[in-house]
Amino acid sequence: MPKLIDRHRLLDGLGHGGWITFTGNAADIAPGSRVLLPLNELLEYGETWRRHVGATGALGARLTGADDPASVLPLFDDLALIAVEFPSFADGRGYSIATLLRTRHHYRGELRAVGDVLRDQLFLMARAGFDTFALRDDQHVDRALAAFRDFSVTYQHAADRALALAA
């Protein structure tokens, strides 16, 4: 199981902070759940899912590198979480998706990096606009938390500054 952190602390040492990922079998998901759905599922069956999880549950979107973040835009009010998948730490598409969500589409909710999320990419991920991180299970939490202090200064304008300005 991954270890969920934000920039300051461990949030869940054994999982996704209560979120479950829909992998094809809706019967496994109880009413009241917090469910991460692939973009297509969300766009096609969002209403059904909303009714299924009910007022006590919540929906989130799980985007892959190939997804267009603009298509989630109409659903922002409905989503408690957007997760962006890193199939490998070397696949950098998630950084652009996060940047677009934060700066182009002004998404202000929780944005989570999931998948091959490693200590040495965290500083960049935070700058690209992610605020929670589902660390791969072999990662050391204290070392990971130190990563956000790797640099005290940065050259570029990035999504983290856009967030700071909006706050």
């Binding site: 950098g92 652009s96 940047t99 677009l100 690209a128 640099f151 304008h157 999504a159």
Partner: protein, 557 residues
């Protein structure tokens, strides 16, 4: 030279600390080989054949005497007493020990240098004209813009894991001496009718496996939008570039497969959505960077120095050197001088620690402590008083760096090749040496005239063989080293001298056949040329490759 602020220094120092921690974790087994690889290459460190190789950034080729002394120190302390200048204006050390690389980087940081992003799938060192700021045909000095690009691209959070490496070149002169059309992004700084600065933007050029000339997607981008526009290109590439096949992952493949027009549309749409945002440059942004460059002090000097003219008339050797290795300067009474690192018996671009120290001393005396590294793997003294030329010539002569071969066949560009590099299919340096020896006579070299001969040990084309007038590529056939020959390639330069990719003349050759093949090509050229100023590459353009091909294969059969 660009002078670091406390801000710049902090980033470099913190990068050293970060890499020290990563190396320690790797050596302790807490960071896997693959995970460490992605991090170390972005700090210039390759682990290969004999030992690690560390590539140190020389941003846009600008280097100070104190930097050369640091290179000498590193070569002596951590390496085997020498280093190698690359075709991308960087310097490489071939024998450092992994555990000591963080110490090397810390030493470099004390003189405002680093190895950040000299490798890996990220934005690499921006390269430029070695005569930037001093060339008589310059329209816009590209150095300030190159530094802006350096800062923007350094540890950019969005573009650290691109599909593949990414190289930007910028030129600001009438003649393009930065080979901008064979880069992922090629920028040419120019001015519009009102004198405002802007950039012509080309994308998708490159050498390697799929050599291709870039496509201009913007004729004039006002300077305020430079960073925003670069970001738009990189974002389109980062999202849509192929990640399924390493050999199809460069931006040129995306541009080609989507068509340049479609690619340009994507970029323009992305640009329109972000223009006038926080990445828009203001005059004060640019002025702040410009103010951190030290400026040369020029004296009022006569256009020509009478004593030097007299000396040149008396010394044919000096006159030859002046003709090939001394270049025009925009300031009267000054010249730029190329110190040739193409010496018989020494791999192209190699330099010893003692030589680095010696050149640093000459730089302090003759050119206000500043030098340039050229993509041809030589060193340029950018601000030499013409009256000092004979003295500098004698000093360089004593170091073996006054061979008047710039632009001639002796100025061979070659990658490190199979002697050093894991990627290579074949050796480069011994081939360069054999050709150099064959054409050792300077009389012959001058008679042949301008000729770029470039050698790469593999298809990655670090030796830029595709744009050599003669290009040689090492290929592997049944575990044997063979060499493919191209002719008619051209790095390009002046507006009427466009960049071109060379054409393969036919089946490849064994290594020991190469000097004869080159000699046949040259003899054919000498017979075909209509006058002395018609260069080898001009003849190939005029008559095609057939006459060359016929002669070469008739003689090797």
């Amino acid at each position: 030279m660009y002078q670091y602020t406390a801000f710049d220094q902090t980033i470099v120092d913190e990068r050293v600390a970060q890499f020290r921690d990563q190396t320690a974790r790797h050596l302790a087994g807490a960071l896997s080989v693959d995970e460490f690889r992605a991090l170390r290459v972005q700090n210039g460190l390759y682990l290969q054949k004999h030992a690690p190789m560390l590539r140190v950034a020389i941003p846009y080729g600008l280097v100070a005497a104190r930097h050369l002394r640091m290179f000498a120190h590193i070569a002596r302390t951590y390496d085997r007493g020498y280093a190698h200048f690359t075709t991308r204006q960087n310097i490489q050390f071939n024998w450092p020990e992994l555990a000591r690389v963080p110490d090397i980087l810390a030493d470099l940081a004390t003189v405002q240098m680093h190895a950040i992003q000299t490798s890996g799938n990220c934005v690499r060192n921006t390269t430029t004209d070695p005569f930037a700021g001093i060339a008589p045909d310059e329209v816009v000095n590209p150095l300030v813009w190159a530094e802006l690009i350096r800062q923007w691209s350094t540890i950019h959070p969005e573009f650290a894991f691109l599909p593949r490496k990414f190289k930007i070149a910028i030129s600001g002169a009438i003649s393009d001496r930065a080979a901008t059309m064979v880069h992922d992004i090629g920028l040419v700084a120019l001015t519009d009718g009102s004198g405002a600065i802007g950039f012509r933007v080309a994308v998708g050029g490159g050498l390697g496996r799929t050599p291709i000339i870039g496509t201009v997607i913007r004729d004039f981008l006002p300077w305020q939008h430079l960073i925003t526009y670069l970001e738009a290109i990189l974002r389109v590439y980062n999202r849509l570039g192929r990640r399924d096949n390493k050999f199809k992952a460069r931006i040129k493949i995306l541009v080609k497969e989507s068509t340049p027009a479609q690619f340009a549309d994507w970029v323009e749409a992305e640009f329109e959505a972000t223009r006038d945002g926080p990445t828009r440059l203001s005059p004060s942004d640019v002025e702040a960077i410009a103010a951190r460059f030290t400026q040369a002090n020029y004296h009022d000097l006569p256009l020509d120095d009478a004593d030097v003219v007299t000396f040149a008339a008396a010394s044919g050797e000096f006159a030859r050197w002046q003709r090939r290795n001394v270049h025009a300067h925009r300031v009267p009474g000054y010249a730029a001088v190329t110190a040739s690192l193409k010496r018989i018996g020494t791999p192209p671009g190699d330099i010893t620690a003692d030589e680095l120290d010696a050149v640093a001393g000459l730089a302090d005396v003759y050119t206000q402590g500043e030098l340039r590294v050229t993509h041809e793997q030589n060193l340029v003294f950018p601000n030499v008083e013409k009256r000092a030329l004979p003295a500098l010539w004698r000093e360089l002569h004593a170091l073996g760096m006054a061979t008047p071969n710039i632009g001639l066949i002796g100025n061979i560009i070659a990658c490190p090749g199979g002697d050093f590099c894991d990627l290579a299919n074949a050796v480069s340096i011994p081939v360069a040496a054999a050709i150099h020896e064959r054409f050792e006579s300077l009389d012959d070299q001058f008679d042949i005239g301008e000729l770029d001969l470039n050698i790469s040990g593999c298809i990655n084309a670090c030796g830029h063989h595709h744009v050599g007038h003669i290009g040689i590529l090492g290929v592997d056939k049944h575990d044997e080293e063979w060499y493919q020959v191209t002719i008619g390639g051209n790095q390009g330069g002046a507006p009427n001298d466009p960049a071109r990719i060379g054409r393969i003349i036919g089946p490849s050759f064994a290594r020991d056949e190469i000097p004869d093949v080159i000699e046949t090509l040259i003899r054919t050229y000498l017979e075909l040329r209509e006058h002395d100023d018609e260069r080898f590459v001009d003849v190939v353009a005029r008559v095609g490759i057939e006459p060359f091909k016929e002669r070469v294969y008739a003689e090797t059969d």
